[in-house]
Symmetry: C2
Subunit: 458 residues, 2 copies
């Protein structure tokens, strides 16, 4: 009865919830670029104020990086901790956006109404689904459900450097019975999904140095070593083009094949491969031969090049042999792959292939995190699955995730706490890309979903 | 007698000549970047005024691109045309300059006094050696020698788009008995050199397109085609890493081996391979196996990567699979290699290696020019060789050049005019690089050299 009242309240107040989300989306909280440090602090303050207004004992708490937002409410019953992140990805290439990334708007599209703007899906729109569910609950019950802690990070898009120290320093107040994380997508539009496994991540960056200075390609073209050619040759050597496998020695150590039973679940989870590939202009999967698109994305490791540059990039032409070439890469990890071991293997692969007179230097500030597998045997997972199935009129499914959400692994390692990942994003949300969006339906039914889950776990 | 007076005058007035050069070096005439169009016009006006002051009938003449400077003097005797270019290369990476590239200064270095600044060597310092020789000649004789035309271009560093149409439209006034070009280096410091052959050039640029938009490397890492990986694989395929040869089919059509006799001359021309490679940080030559550094640089063709970029290049990390990757390349041509044929071959090489779902587009605005061989049998070449030997107290030599100076070929094709290339730059001048310099000795003795050549050809 009271759940129905909460759901009705959510439906009536949706326009206000959208207005609040827009206020948050207007804050340029790009964590990876120091130029936006002030905007990150502003987003944290905004959220702390929202939580306080709902009766949370909440504050934005300083770290060596961007602030953490922590709020507590209630003191009895099951202790649930909700995690989200208020920071967003950079917006370049800006020229490909059809509106200001930080001037959000509702747009009508052939696929329905969407919220357009950086962070609308990753992760401001998603974290607000939980906060708005709390707001409706409070409006109906006068109190928040059970015992809640809300924990919002501002460094998720930049390697979370402050996260583990902060959790260690505040372990007592952050250790709950279960963590709820809203930063994932649905396997297919309208199919509610709970993540059962996530890939880990290794980030690294290197520079290949050749001549002492930029050279004239007439004078030195021929005898001169060109770092751009070195870079191309070495980056090309990372993969076996025929099989699509990573060619770094020992790369696949700790990788297990997907169990047949899980594979069957995945094959029947409603994933539309053709739509998934076609929506971004692909006709075939380009990963390891012999694995389905879903398995390539959820259960196979990758070595991806995220940026590569050197030499002249301006208008016209410059006949130069540059002194340096640069590369940013990320690996996605599965199973028991060890990020630190892997980093050494990737670096050894590069070192072994350098030409005479070429030199490599590495950026040492980039973090790694192992893959994570969820404890789906816990009763809360089945309870949440039922709640989601009720809301979406469709059986909710346990799925893999290609993305890396290190926080799930950190909660387990540092606080010994299991996590459950429930998200309402869609694969066409263009997160990390120009024109990021979040379906209004995801936002609305996401709020309703959390209300149902809170009721089921209350 | 009068030659001695001219040389003495040059020695006495060197400080004034340097001041004039500095005025020209302060003008930011970067031709490849539209932002500096006004500076190019300013440099042309400055030069036209200098020539007029020497009694030339001179003007900066408009083209669809940057202006040409043309000056005529005298009406009898052998008609000599002098060519130089007043435009300069871009200055990036600016952070590697130890002073403002456009705030020239004399600096004392372990190797002697140098003029530091963009264009000091390529080509403002070199073209001023001829103008200052004319100035001293006029001061002593009251007139300029014989019949002179000075022809200065402002688009040499950006493919000379206006050059051929301008020469065609003004063929009568520009066709002389011989063209003198000062845009080359000495084979080794202190060894006066006349270029007997130049490599040609082909410039091209391409973009590899993959997904419709930038993608999240978590969601699409694995099944997603990455244009940066495509670019690396294709750029790596341009060369056979073992032999150093270009692997583009038909690339070497029209390439001849260097005649044994010329090879012997080159081996004895005083070129210091160890110094040449060591000065920029190389211990070995990196070109085609089986050819000396000098032959790799003067008589073998190349395919060089001048710029390559795509994805995220900012601070920190971004887990993106970019929609595009870009590459700028130049080929150096020798013998009878055909730039247009070669362009098609390079483009076919790329097209043949694209993965499904990858697409390539080409920039069509970049020019090509064939290699050029000088008519060293003409009497002026031997006369100039003697004059240079006298000035430098060292036998002047006929050498090859790794660079491309299309103008020599264009003079022959369009005006049927032979050209003689005499230059005083050194390989460590860092032209096209940060901290470009020109030796004060090159400037001073360069002026004296032209005075001697003008006397010998008068």
């Amino acid at each position: 009865m009271s759940l129905q009242a909460v759901l009705a309240r959510i439906d009536q107040t949706l326009p206000d919830a959208l207005d609040r989300l827009f206020d948050l989306l207007r804050i340029k909280s790009i964590s990876t670029d120091p130029a936006f440090k002030g905007d990150c602090a502003k987003a944290a303050e905004w959220l702390a104020a929202e939580l306080a207004a709902l009766g949370f004992d909440a504050a934005a708490r300083a770290t060596p990086g961007h602030p953490m937002v922590v709020g507590h409410a209630g003191d009895s019953g099951r202790h649930l901790l909700f995690y989200g992140h208020y920071d967003v990805q950079p917006v370049d290439p800006l020229n490909l956006w059809h509106r200001d990334p930080f001037d959000p708007a509702i747009e009508d599209t052939p696929k329905g109404r969407v919220i357009r703007g950086r962070g609308s899906s990753d992760d401001k729109g998603q974290l607000m689904t939980f906060i708005e569910a709390c707001r409706a609950w409070k409006a109906v019950h006068g109190t928040l459900p059970g015992r809640l802690t809300i924990f919002l990070e501002g460094e998720e898009e930049s390697g979370s450097p402050s996260l583990i120290p902060f959790m260690q320093a505040n372990a007592a107040e952050l250790t709950a019975d279960l963590a709820l994380i809203c930063d994932t997508s649905m396997v297919s539009p309208g199919i509610p999904s709970i993540a059962s496994q996530l890939r880990g991540m290794l980030k690294d960056e290197f520079t290949i140095h050749g001549p002492r200075i930029d050279l004239h390609s007439g004078h030195y073209g021929g005898p001169g070593l060109n770092p751009l050619r070195e870079m191309a040759r070495i980056v090309a050597s990372f993969h076996d083009h025929e099989t699509g496998r990573v060619a770094v020695e020992g790369f696949y150590e700790g990788v297990q094949e997907v169990p047949a039973e899980l594979l069957t679940q995945w094959e029947n989870c409603g994933f539309d491969e053709k739509e998934y590939l076609g929506s971004v202009g692909y006709t075939v999967p380009h990963g390891e031969k012999g694995y389905s698109t879903l398995v390539q994305q959820w259960a196979r490791p990758t070595l991806e090049i995220n940026g590569m540059w050197g030499g002249y990039q301006g208008a016209g032409s410059k006949t130069v042999i540059p002194a340096e070439a640069h590369c940013k890469l990320t690996c996605r990890l599965v199973g028991d792959m060890d990020p630190d071991k892997l980093r050494e293997r990737v670096r050894a692969h590069v070192a072994a292939r350098l030409s005479p007179d070429a030199r490599v230097t590495w950026d040492n500030d980039l973090e790694g995190s192992p893959a994570a597998v969820m404890n789906t045997a816990r009763s809360e997972f089945e309870a949440a699955r039922r709640a989601l199935s009720d809301e979406w009129n469709r059986e909710a499914v346990f799925v893999g995730m290609g993305g890396s959400i290190p926080i799930a692994g950190f909660f387990k390692e540092v606080l010994g706490m299991d996590a459950m990942l429930v998200g309402f994003a869609n694969d066409d949300d263009a997160i990390h890309s120009p024109n990021e969006k979040y379906d209004v339906k995801s936002f609305h039914k996401g709020i309703r979903s959390w209300a149902r889950i809170l009721a089921a776990l209350d």
